[in-house]
């Protein structure tokens, strides 16, 4: 599978990832090499094999629906420089 520059731009947009324009070609080349390696998987027939999502095939545990954490808004917002009245500030999205 060869990944072209347009593919790189598309997936970078999907991932909301800014990339330098002059690096697009080298990302395309790297990702193509990686995909070439990944495609060795196709040597093996996996028809009927159950996909494995968890190494121990465990289900996600459920917990009871009760409050276990207090409100730590101020502590948690200390890591953002753009906070006002307990709210995170972002660029205007509605005019």
């Amino acid at each position: 599978m060869s990944i072209q520059s347009e593919d790189v731009l598309k997936i970078a947009h999907l991932a909301r990832l800014g990339i330098d324009e002059d690096q697009v070609a080298s990302y395309a080349s790297d990702l193509s090499k990686i995909m070439g390696m990944v495609e060795q998987m196709n040597q093996t027939d996996t028809t009927g094999i159950e996909p494995m999502a968890h190494p121990l095939d465990q289900m996600q545990r459920l917990r009871s629906d009760r409050v276990t954490e207090g409100n730590e808004r101020e502590l948690l917002q200390q890591n953002s420089a753009h906070v006002e009245d307990g709210l995170f500030l972002v660029p205007r999205v509605i005019d």
């Binding site: 990832l17 800014g18 990686i34 094999i49 494995m52 190494p55 917990r63």
Partner: protein, 485 residues
Amino acid sequence: MYNKSLKQLSTSLQNKDISSVELSQYFLDRIKRYDGELNSVITLNEEAALQAAAQADKIIHAGNAGPLTGIPLLHKDIFCTEGLRTSCGSKMLDNFIAPYSATAVNKLTQAGTVMLGKTNMDEFAMGSSNETSFYGAVKNPWDLQTVPGGSSGGSAAAVAARLAPLASGTDTGGSIRQPAAFCGITGIKPTYGSVSRYGMIAFASSLDQAGAMAKSAEDAAYMLQAMSGFDEKDSTSVDRPVADLVSGLGDSIKGLTVGLPKEFFGAELDADMRDKVEAAVDTIKSAGASIKEISLPNINLSVPAYYVVAPAECSANLSRFDGVRFGHRCDSPKDLEDLYKRSRGEGFGDEVKRRIMMGAYVLSAGYYDAYYKKAQQVRRLIKQDFVNAFKEVDIIASATAPSVAFTAGDKTDDPVSMYLSDIFTIGVNLAGLPGMSVPCGYINKMPVGLQLIGNYYDESRLLNVAHQYQQLTDWHTHVPTGFEE
């Protein structure tokens, strides 16, 4: 002092031959003296460490000390540490002060350890050479021109240079074992789910597992014992009692069967590497074990499957870094999309970007079945190979890495060749098994690692085999030249 075992240090502390404050200051001084050239530590925690050490001394004086009370250690900078910068080796988190501590950190703190600082690592644990860190590459103390391995390269280099007796690490595809091998130390990644992932910054959640890095299997056993245990804050934590990892050290390994996967000893294995691993296996045999050739027929697909599963999970996990709530935020964004794109574009390095894009690609519409589902199916085949092998053998042995530490810069332009340095370790993560690396000799004066893989939840036997090997060899006691004073 720097080469003493954990037991010896603990005895010295409890006999009041030395205080924890003195011991902590001693290792802080070693860090200051040697780390300028190694770059293994990102953040030093001097003041708080000495306070914690003074607290440990009180516990020792009260006669309530455990084996880890007052013992200094370093934590990989992937573990959240309350009130202390937790960078994950990334510009993205350069300004991040963790509001809480990881469970593994809390458990080790409760056991009385003293955190001296946070170790350097590949950015978001993505790398095999510790060259992707925002804080600069880590050097291998055995040869400063070579890499220490990755991603727990700072922890490995620090323990190798005896800057701390213990360091924590995490292992998603070999990130404890490969740097342990490159730096000539002992490292263990336990069964998936043994150590809580709570507060451990996520890379690939179905593969990430924390573990212990130390000089010897015995030291690692004490550390891992303290870190392990069920945690309801981690939904993948395994709810079972912590096995006793320490009291079985010293048991005879007579009658044990060691499996050698023929796929790991193929023609591509370097002849010198083969010699070292075979000699190590012979030593284990001399202690009464028998050796059996086994086959892991699908193991050659582990790197390809991993480079679908890990990037897919990484792209999901790293979507939380949006420039809004924490982490790097770009200047003067013109709109929300610009905020996301530039904050992420500026905050992440190249390798992280490659993996996020790989993940977004394999998960994107039309490709999911061909890549992600296929990789999960291959993953099951690989796991089944190990399950079948463990019906015949107790332990599996191989080289930890296909080579000794390579020269810095050698593989940075070729991601696939870098990925292949984890060819022997990745299968263990896909299967969720425990694995470790112990030093077993040198090639061209650089340490070689022997990888030992155990069955699920069989860390106690795994550590004992390593311990028995270390009773018969002294590689683990060697200190790199230039760090002996």
